[in-house]
């Protein structure tokens, strides 16, 4: 029942971003994160579902019916979507990260190395 401490951990943020693209089941979330991070973040089953459990308990994501009619095996998977609360938490997080990045870019010494 614990609210995930803000700011979100990087894997949690990635899970939220994956679900921001649409309803997904666990393996699809995992694949999405790996694709997004070029394999740098590779969540194991336990770690992934632990994060999903916390996000579910804090009301940021919820289980849902698959949007597209899924094939046999996929139909048995649990699908997740962002809740309203999840959307606003993600937006707030992205906004604050954006501010952070803007501030960082404003530093001329730091900007040099950034393309």
């Amino acid at each position: 029942m614990r609210k995930p401490a803000r700011p979100f951990s990087i894997p949690v943020l990635h899970i939220l971003l994956a679900l921001a693209e649409g309803t997904k089941h666990g393996y699809a979330i995992k694949q999405d994160i790996e694709r997004r991070t070029d394999g740098a973040i590779c969540l194991g089953p336990g770690t992934l579902y632990e994060a999903i459990q916390r996000l579910e308990e804090s009301g940021l994501i919820a289980e849902t019916a698959p949007v597209a009619p899924a094939n046999g095996q996929e139909a048995q998977r649990r699908f997740y979507r962002l809740t309203e609360r999840g959307w606003s938490a993600l937006r707030a997080e992205v906004r604050s990260l954006g501010t952070l990045v803007d501030q960082a870019r404003a530093n001329p010494r730091l900007r040099k190395g950034l393309a």
Partner: protein, 276 residues
Amino acid sequence: VTRLYRVLLHLFPSEFRTRYGDELIALFVAERLEPRHSGALGLVRFWRHILYDLVTSATRQRRRQIRRMFGSGVPHLPAQPKRTEMDTLLQDLRYAFRSFVRRPGFTAIAVLSLALGIGANSLIYGLVDGFVLRPFPYPDPDRLVSIGVSFPKISPEMSHVEVLSPAEYADIRSARSLGRTGAFDLGNRNISGGDVPERVFTALVLDDLFPVFGMNPIVGRGFTTEELGPKGPRVAILSHRLWQTRFGADRNIVNRPIRIGGETATVVGVMPPGFC
């Protein structure tokens, strides 16, 4: 393999397992089928990833379960829960565990060094215990030798047996490098007479053993040449322990007959404590 993973899922609290167990297994199966996990190296990489994930997440889940059980699992914990010494210890343990998993080579060397160290330590302690703390209770123990025969193929564990034929013993007895010799046949025999018969550890002695060990009876005397001969009278010398437990440390035991293995023998002496 999936069945093994299913068993390993019992590391998780049942609540988590019931809710997400099937999902975890589905993810496990899907990951196993990924091309990067094919081949022997891929299989090793896969299991390392799975086991690391399993242990770390199960540990977190169990801790969470314990926190809930002991009442601190209130819905909204403060952002920075107070860290106890136990938390610090657990964190250190987790950190150590992660470091070990991350550097298996280092872990192997550390474990090997520990194993060698502990092994060497026990060996040295064994030697010190045997030679310094509890040496043979006999004078000049370094001048005592036990002679037996080696049978290289008798068994993998044992090749040396202290069994000699009379002719072999006669050869040994005539060897000039040995000051004195004695031979004995160890075995359990019944002592009867008195309240209850008792099965005791005995030695049938050939030649006078006691001068070999440099020890003499504290009560009575040792064996005479006549007694050691093939037709000599049957006599016995008691160990200190048997003398105390069965005969009540009676000094008048000397010259009394006792029954050993169905035969009567006269007690002629009692050895000092520690002789055997």
